[in-house]
Symmetry: D2
Subunit: 362 residues, 4 copies
C-alpha cells in the first residue's frame, strides 16, 4: 500500500504538516558510491519556491540518511531517510478541518478512515513525493553505471503542446527554463499561460513526456509484469495524474496497422527498427529502442478564488484557499516522473537479472 | 509475473498452440453460487469466430473447473481451470519460426529467453486472455452480490468516436451489435470501417470505455495502491493496450481547474458531486460516483498483406500472414476490459474490507 | 495464500477427491531441458501404494504438462500442470460429511468457510503435496546445473533415531529401503515399529533430516528473508509438520557458546569451518558449508480404530476410519521435504542473482 | 527482504552504530488510540542495561513517531518512526574491521555484499529488533481491542527447563524477575546459571515459549499461509533463533496418534477440545484453543574470552570481545517474540477479515 517495487523497493511515510517525510529504500545493490550532492540536487528540482510559477512554500527539504550507507558506499542494507518539515503554516488550513474541498481527497479520506489530518492535505499532499525523489536519485546512481539515462520534460500546458516527435528537441535544455520544457519558444508561451492562469486564481494541467535511453533488450515480463504496465502503474501513482500512454498511444488511434508497424532496419543492431511507434516495448518487453511515454496531469484542485463547497455534514459553505499552492504542477512533476521511471526500470532490471547469468554464478 | 492481484488473485498459464490455457483463482470468498452458464457466456463473448469482423479461428473454448467448487458452491479453496486448445492450425505458423514479425513480440521473446514458441505468437497471443475472462466472471458473481456492476463498450474505432458523456447512451445496448458499441449508428459506421480495413488486409485500433457503478466510497489505497493506478495497471496488462486515462484524462488538458473541479451537490448522498470530471476517484479512493476510464488499443500488428521484415540473423525477407486474425481487437477487447476491471475492483474491495468491521469480528 | 516463492513461484490447486491436483510454476529460467522421466519419478516417490507401510490408495499420479515447455525445453513461460484423481473411493468418506474428525482440519475449515468438501479431507489432504513434488522436480533440474544437491531422509520414527552427525551415513542409500533411512539397521527397526503401530490401528510420527550440498556463499537475505526462515516457512507449510530446527537447533540447548561456535579452518576455502553447528547459515546467509535441518511430523490423526468425536452440532458420536491411510507419514514426507527445499533454494538463488553481475549485463 | 507481513506490514532499517534504527508500519487500521507510554514501555523491555545479566550498553531507546498519528489517533497512514543510536562505543569494534568473528555474520555479509559495516555487527546486530518491538506494540494496541492477548516467557536456559504444561504457571509473574520466567524457583536457577556462564566469559542459549489467548476460530490460510507457518517464519527471523515448534512439536515424537489426538469436549464452545496437543491450530487454521509454540535460541556467539579466528585473507589471528554483550539472549528475546507474534496474528486477522462480512459492507 505504501510500498512500491518488487526487488528495488521504496516504502514511504509522511504528511504535509507532520514531523517529516521519509521512507526506506530496500534492495539497492551494495557498493554504489553515494553522491549526496546529486541526491540533494534531485530533491531541489522538486522543492517548492523555485520560481514565480511554483508555490511559495519555502523549505530546504534537506534529506538525512539514517542507515544503509557506510563510508560513502551503499552496504546492501535498507536506506532509511527523512526530510523534516519546517515552513508549514498549519494555521492556514484550520478552516479545512470542517469542510471538504472540491476535487480534493478530503471527503474520501474522511469516509475511508473516519478521521483525517486536514493540514495541507495530510498524506494526500504532493509534498509526499519527496520520498520518491530520494529513491529515484539512488536508482539513477545505479542506472548510470548501467548506461541507462532518463529524460523527462513538460510537453504540454493547457493546449500549448510540443510535437510528438521528441527527436526534434535537445533534451539537455530542459532545465534551462522554469517550465522544464526543452523548446525555449514553447516554454515561454507555457510560462505566460501559467502566469495568466495564476493571476486569475485558477490552475491548469498538461503532460510530461519521458524518454528512457540505453535500456537493454529484455526488460519487462509477459502477462502481468509488462514493462509499460509497470511504468503506467508507477506514473498513475503520482498525485494529480489522470492518464498514461506510451509510443503512439492515444495519438495513434486514427492510424492503420500498416502505418504503425515498426519495420526492422537492415544492418546495424539486430532488431533495430526504422520507426518507433511502439515506444521501445513489444509484447511488454523492451526492444532496445528508446522507451517513451506521456503522463497527463489535471489542473490543481486548489483555487485561490472563492468556490462553493460543503461542510462535514453536507451544509453549503464557501472556500477560498489561503495556503501556498502551485498554479500548475507540471514543472515540479518532471523530476517526480523521472524518479518513478528510474525506480521502475531498476526494479525491472533486477527482475530480469534474477534469471540471467546462471552458469556464471558458480 | 503471471499472477495478478493481492487478495483476489489470478495466476495464468498457456500458449496459443500449446495443450491448453488456464489458471488458478485464489482468494475467492466461500459460499458463492457458481453459475457455470454465466461463466461460459462470458468466455463466449471473447471467443473467436463470433462474427465476420473477428478472426475465423473457431474454438468452443469450453472451460473445465478442476477444483475449488463443491456441490455448486465455491469452497474458499483455489479454483483451477483449463480450456483446451483445439483448432490450432500450427502449420500456418511454420514460416514464423525463422523470422521476426514487425511490431510483434517475436524478437523480444527470442532475445529475452533465447528460444520461443513461434506458433500463433505463443504466450504473447491474445488467446491467453481466456484466463482473465474466467477469473473476471467469478469476480462478477461476487460483485453482483455487492451491487457493483461493470459496463464496457467500444467507444472509438479509428476516428469514429462516441461522445465522452456516456450518460447519453443506453449501456444495455452494447451487446446488440457485433462492434459492442451502445450507439447503433456509430456502431454501423465502425463496422463498415473495420470491413473496409479488413478488405485491405490492414488493421485498425480504437478505445474501450468502461463504467463501474455501485462502488462504495473508500476503495483504493493512498500512495501506491490508488484505485486508478490499480485499474490502469490491469488495463495496460491487456494485449495491444497503449494507453489509459480516467475521468477527463487526456481530453481535459485544455481545461482550467475552475472548470474541472467537481462541486458538491446540496442534499442527497453526502459527498455526491454535480459533475464527475474526476471519474469517481479522489486521491486514489472511490468517492461513490461512477468510476469511468478509457483504454487505447493499437491496430493489430499482423497484416494479411505483404510486409518486409528480417529473419533470425537479420537478413531481409518478406511476410504475409496466413493465420486467422482480427482486423480490429476492439469488439473482443470489451469483455476482457470488463474482466480485468472486475478482478481489480473485487481485489480492492477485499483490501478495504480487511481493515473494516473490526469490532464486529469478536 | 496458495502461492509460494518470490521469483521461483508455485501456485497450487486441488482437493483429494476433486477432478485433479495441479498448479502453475512461474519464474523458471528458459532453456532448461525438461526430463519428464525424472519429474515423473519424483512424483512416484510420494505416490501412495508404494509398500506395505504406506496407504493402499493406488493411483498412477501421472502428470500432464499443459504449457511452458516447447520442444523439450522450458520457454520461461509459466508451466501449468495437472494430475487427475482416479482411485478416490469417495463413498468411504460419506460418514464424514456430518462429523468432525479429531485433530483433523474438518472443524476449522467448516468454521472458516461455512462449508467444506468432506471427501478425503478435501484441500487439507496430503494428496495436494503432489503439486509441490512437480515444482520441486523442475527446481532440481535447475539446481543440478548449478551443482546444488539435496538429500532428505527419515531420521527418526517414534523414539528410534539416527545420530545427529549425518556424516556417518551414506546418503545415497536412502532409497534402498521403504522407510527412506540411510542406515539399514535403524531402517529395519523403524519399519518394524510402523508395522506394529499399524497392526494396532494406530499411527506414529518422527523427523525428516535434509542436507543441501553445493550452495554458494550468499543465499538468504538479512532481517526478513533469512535463509533458515525461508526453509522453515517452507517446511512448516507441509501437512502434519510440527517443528523445524537447523544446525544444532533444539539439540544444542545445553551447550555453551564456546562449544557451539564454529571456528575457521586455516587454509582451504576462505571461510570454511572446522565444525558446522550453525547448519551452514550465519546471520541468515549461507556460508558455503552444508546446510542441514530437521522437520518434525506428528502421528497421522486418522485412526483405524474407534474414537469418540462430535457431529456438526456437537453431539457425541464415534468414528472408525474406512479410507486408506498411512500409519506414518515419514517415508512419503521425504520427497516432499526435498521438493520444498529445492523450490526455496532456487528462489533464494534467483533473489541473490538479481543483485549480482551488474557490470556484466551491459 | 526488509518488509514483513501482507496487510499489517513492517519495513525496517538501521544498523547497530549508524544514525538510528527505525521503520515504517503500514496497514494499521485508523482510529486506534496511540498509547505512547505503553509503546515506550514495550521498547524498555528489550533495551540493554536492564539488569546484571544483560549487556551494559546503556541507551534510552526513545522512539520518535514521524507520521501516521494525528491528535493521538492512528490515521490509517503509514507510521514512520526512529530511535537514534547514542551510546555506541564504535572504537570497541575497530579491530573487527579486519577479521571475521566465529559464528557471526561477518564473513557472510562481506562475501554477499563485498563490504560491511563492522561496527557492532552492523545490520546483523540484535539492536535492529527495536523496530519489531515498536511495530509489535502498535499491533498489541489493536489486538487488545479484539480480546487477543500474548504471553511469552523464558522456558529454558541451558538444561534448566520449565514443564511443557504451561497451565501450571501464573503468566502474569513473568516480569517479576530478570530472567522473565513465571516460575520463581526455576528463574533463580536460570539467573545463577547465566551469572556462572558470564563469569567464564562464555554464553548460553535456551527457549522462549509463547501463548496466544483469545484468537477466534479461522485465522490462517491452508496450503502456504498456515498459521503455524506464519508464526514459525516470524520467529525464525529473530536473531539467534535456531528452531521453532508448536503444540507437542519435537517433544511429542515418541507418542502415538491415539495419545496425541485432541478429542472434542461434550458441551461448551462447539469444537472445544479436552487436550490441546495441536497447539490451537488444525490444518493451519486456529481452532479457538490457546495457541502455543517454542522458539530455540543459540548461545550468543560473542565470547569475552580469547578465541582463535581468521582475518580477511584467512590468516590466523585471535579475538577477545571488548564490546558490551549479553551472556544469554533469552530475557531480552521475550518481548521480541511477543512483538513478532502480535504482528503475525494481526496480519492473519486482517487477511481473515478481508473475506468476511461481505453482505454487511453495502
Amino acid at each position: 500500500m505504501n510500498t512500491y517495487g518488487q526487488l528495488y523497493k521504496i516504502t514511504t511515510f509522511g504528511e504535509s504538516h507532520g514531523t517529516g517525510i521519509g521512507g526506506v529504500i530496500d534492495g539497492i545493490p551494495a557498493g554504489i558510491k553515494v553522491d549526496m550532492e546529486f541526491i540533494q540536487s534531485e530533491l531541489n528540482r522538486r522543492r517548492p519556491g523555485q520560481s514565480t510559477i511554483t508555490t511559495s512554500r519555502n523549505e530546504a527539504d534537506k534529506v538525512e540518511i539514517l542507515s544503509g550507507v557506510f563510508e560513502g558506499m551503499t552496504t546492501g542494507c535498507p536506506i532509511g531517510f527523512v526530510v523534516r518539515n519546517s515552513d508549514q503554516h498549519s494555521q492556514d488550513y484550520e478552516n479545512m478541518r470542517c469542510l471538504y474541498r472540491p476535487s480534493h481527497a478530503d471527503f474520501t479520506y474522511q469516509q475511508k478512515y473516519g478521521l483525517r489530518d486536514h493540514r495541507g492535505g495530510g498524506r494526500s499532499s504532493a509534498r509526499i513525493t519527496i520520498s520518491r525523489c530520494v529513491a529515484g536519485a539512488f536508482a539513477k546512481l545505479v542506472l548510470n553505471q548501467l548506461g541507462i539515462h532518463i529524460y523527462a520534460f513538460t510537453s504540454q500546458v493547457g493546449n500549448i503542446a510540443l510535437d510528438c516527435d521528441y527527436s526534434k528537441y535537445d533534451l539537455t535544455k530542459t532545465e534551462s527554463n522554469v517550465v522544464r520544457c526543452p523548446d525555449a519558444e514553447k516554454a515561454a508561451q507555457m510560462e505566460a499561460l501559467i502566469k495568466e492562469v495564476k493571476a486569475d486564481g485558477d490552475t491548469i494541467g498538461g503532460t510530461v513526456t519521458c524518454i528512457i535511453k540505453g535500456c537493454p533488450v529484455g526488460l519487462g515480463e509477459p502477462e502481468f509484469g509488462k514493462l509499460h504496465q509497470m511504468l503506467g502503474s508507477a506514473m498513475l501513482s503520482i498525485n494529480a495524474a489522470k492518464g498514461f500512454d506510451y509510443g503512439k498511444g492515444f495519438n495513434g488511434l486514427a492510424e492503420r496497422g500498416s502505418q504503425q508497424n515498426d519495420l526492422y532496419k537492415q544492418g546495424g543492431r539486430l532488431g533495430a527498427t526504422i520507426t518507433n511507434n511502439s515506444g521501445g516495448i513489444q509484447g511488454g518487453i523492451s526492444n532496445g529502442e528508446d522507451i517513451y511515454f506521456r503522463v497527463a496531469f489535471k489542473p490543481v484542485a486548489t483555487q485561490l478564488r472563492e468556490q462553493p463547497t460543503i461542510d462535514l455534514e453536507g451544509n453549503p459553505t464557501t472556500l477560498k484557499a489561503k495556503g501556498r499552492h502551485d498554479p500548475c504542477v507540471l514543472p515540479r512533476a518532471v523530476p517526480i516522473v523521472e524518479a518513478m521511471a528510474a525506480i521502475t526500470i531498476l526494479d525491472c532490471y533486477m527482475l530480469y537479472n534474477s534469471r540471467n547469468n546462471f552458469p556464471d554464478m558458480i
